[in-house]
């Protein structure tokens, strides 16, 4: 293997990893507040991709209108998801909440299957993303470079919201204790809705970028990226937003590098992340950046 190929794979890994990171942020935010794995989070990738396709194909909007609209639509879907599937179960046992989340995930996937059909749709890829440029002898699709940059911009914006605004302060409070937060005059349900809005919008951005990278959209496209993003969130330390992005980078890099270095293992690529998950849970359940998880009552 030459240095060029290695560098090429490194860039691919960072690009894939930042997508995982972007989706992982949503998992980690919802987990931080509700202590719930939002199983339907991955399916929001699919929702966003279809919304973007329909924006371009059906309403013939230019992509720079259609994509933000799709992100906004998916953000609202996130709020609907919370109101429909999770809010009625705030005081229910945890297992009920999780089952509801799994049900919501299957409902989204199969609704898409019924309404849109199972045949994969091609994603309209604007020419400016598909362009291939030469850098130091490497042939790189510009998208591969845009993805990590956009991820870092989103991350910076999110960190600003969480640590520098009142809403962010309320979110941090809600992630520690609902009751006390309520006593401080904060509408916790609104804060949860905002969390879902932000998390789902980021998942939507991730989904659209995923579809730009792999332009085949089908009702089940979100399942595997969703699971891997969750693993990235655990790897980084669940509840920690910077950790989620770091976990995403590590997972994406690891996945690409294992396949690049040992091509015989390429069939096992999807198993790799689960092995990582098991190892993390065995040896460092709090992840790289995480603090010990406390039960919230």
């Amino acid at each position: 293997m030459t240095a060029t190929i290695l560098l090429q794979q490194l860039i691919n890994g960072i690009s894939l990893g930042s997508l995982y990171g972007l989706v992982a942020i949503g998992y980690t935010m919802v987990y931080g507040i509700l202590r719930l794995i939002n199983f339907a989070h991955g399916d929001l990738l699919m929702v966003a991709s279809y919304a973007a396709i329909y924006g371009v194909a059906l309403f013939s909007l230019p992509w720079f209108v259609s994509f933000p609209l799709a992100i906004a639509f998916t953000g609202c879907m996130g709020i609907v998801l919370d109101r429909g599937a999770y809010k009625p179960l705030r005081d229910a046992p945890r297992i009920s909440l999780l089952i509801s989340a799994i049900g919501a995930s299957f409902l989204l996937e199969n609704m898409a299957l019924v309404v849109i059909g199972g045949i994969p749709k091609g994603f309209p890829r604007p020419a400016m993303f598909a362009k291939v440029i030469d850098v130091l002898g490497l042939r790189i699709q510009v998208l591969t470079i845009y993805i990590p940059i956009l991820t870092l911009i989103f991350l910076a914006g999110l960190l600003y919201i969480i640590y520098r605004t009142r809403v962010g302060k309320a979110m941090r409070a809600a992630s520690v204790d609902f009751e006390t937060t309520r006593l401080m005059g904060i509408n916790v349900d609104r804060i949860i809705a905002i969390t879902f809005l932000i998390g789902s919008s980021l998942a939507a951005a991730g989904g659209i970028m995923w579809a730009l990278k792999y332009p085949q959209v089908n009702p089940f496209m979100g399942v595997i990226p969703g699971l891997k993003a969750f693993i990235a969130a655990v790897l980084g330390g669940i509840g920690n937003i910077v950790g989620a992005v770091i976990g995403g980078f590590l997972l994406g890099l690891g996945e690409i590098m294992i396949v690049a270095l040992i091509p015989e293992l390429s069939q096992y690529r999807d198993a790799f992340s689960f092995v990582i998950l098991i190892l993390v849970l065995l040896f460092r359940p709090t992840g790289i950046m995480g603090e010990p998880i406390t039960d919230k009552t």
């Binding site: 009625p88 799994i102 919501a104 409902l107 999807d270 689960f274 998950l277 849970l281």
Partner: protein, 346 residues
């Protein structure tokens, strides 16, 4: 007559009744009816054993499909003759000891169950260290890993091609025999001190620990028993449909089992049985919504996936509005039936 003796007699009478009904269907029922009855019994076995971990112990385990896969492959590889194996493994030959061993059906089922239990034992160390959402994801991941391995280990599982042309050994007597055996063993276990300890762990693990209960030991027991019966049911299923491939046992399968036990009532064996029977029958009845409907003047084409939409809505509806399901946590008992029949007239 002592109460326990009377119950035993009533239970035996109940089983006899089931067998008479089965005999009736075997003699006079259509192939389709027999098929549904077989499915029903296999779902009962799976749901009762799944409920042992999810309902009784309160762990959200999402990987029974992995144990079903292991059981199905093990049992299939044991009953196939050397010749059949040669015909199946065209891309890469089956590795040595497996290519010649051959076992009768009953031994293959046992082997399937035992191997599933062995795998359950191996993954129990990472799995039972965690609870709640983490446990759900790790078991889900295990299911995915098993599927990936089934695709990759061509020289053992024949990869994506799967195994074809298995002998259809499974019949009503096998499926219902196993189902009744599973119910009997699970009920015995749940009503023993082990079962009470499992329920104590479900309600409050810290309190259970303070009472001197070792959570790992008890959860492991439930996990192994559940995996064993899932494996056996996998073997039955393989010899019922006679073709298995890695795509057969995906997370969808687990999702169906989850619906069954939630609708039946998490934590009730009776509920799992009722849920499974309802699912096997209702799943067939609901095929209507996926097949084309011809109204003479209007033709509605079939909508694939509609059944899963309905199932998802049922699952969410039950969990949000009727969390106790059909049975809650109560069980069928002869005494309760007796009391109900002899309720004074109002």
């Amino acid at each position: 007559m002592a109460k326990s003796q009377r119950h035993l007699l009533l239970n035996l009478a109940g089983i006899l009744l089931v067998f008479l009904v089965l005999l009736l269907f075997e003699r006079h029922g259509s192939l389709y009816q027999v098929r549904i009855l077989n499915n029903m019994a296999i779902f009962i076995t799976l749901a009762v054993s799944y409920n042992l971990v999810n309902g009784i112990c309160g762990l959200l385990h999402l990987g029974p499909n992995a144990f079903i896969t292991i059981g199905a492959y093990t049992s299939a590889l044991l009953t196939m003759t050397a010749n059949e194996k040669m015909m199946n493994f065209i891309i890469e030959p089956l590795i040595w000891p497996l290519s010649v061993v051959h076992a009768p059906f009953v031994l293959s089922l046992l082997a399937g169950g035992l191997l599933a239990s062995l795998f359950a034992f191996l993954i129990s160390f990472p799995v039972l260290r965690v609870r709640g959402d983490y446990l759900a994801i790790v078991t889900l991941g295990f299911g995915e890993v098993v599927r990936v391995l089934c695709n990759a280990f061509q020289s053992v599982t024949n990869g994506p091609l799967g195994l074809k042309g298995l002998s259809p050994y499974t019949n009503l007597w096998w499926t219902w025999g196993v189902a009744i055996f599973t119910i009997a063993v699970t009920t015995k276990l749940v009503n023993s001190s082990y079962g009470r300890a499992m329920k104590a762990i479900r309600e409050d693990e810290t309190a259970a620990r303070a009472m001197g209960i070792d959570p790992f030991k008890h959860l492991l027991l439930a996990f192994l028993v559940s995996a064993f019966f899932s494996g056996v049911a996998g073997g039955l299923l393989a010899h019922l449909i006679t073709t298995i491939s890695p795509t057969l046992f995906t997370f969808f399968f687990t999702f169906n089992l989850l619906i069954i036990i939630v609708v039946g009532g998490l934590g009730s064996t009776t509920g799992a049985v009722l849920g499974a029977a309802l699912f096997a029958w209702g799943g067939e009845a609901l095929r209507v919504v996926e097949s084309p409907i011809d109204l003479g003047f209007l033709r509605i084409p079939g909508i694939p996936g509609m059944r899963m939409v309905i199932f998802s809505i049922i699952l969410m509806g039950v969990i949000i509005f009727a969390r106790r399901g059909m049975m809650g946590r109560s069980e069928f008992s002869w005494d309760a039936l007796w009391a109900r029949l002899h309720r004074p007239a109002r």
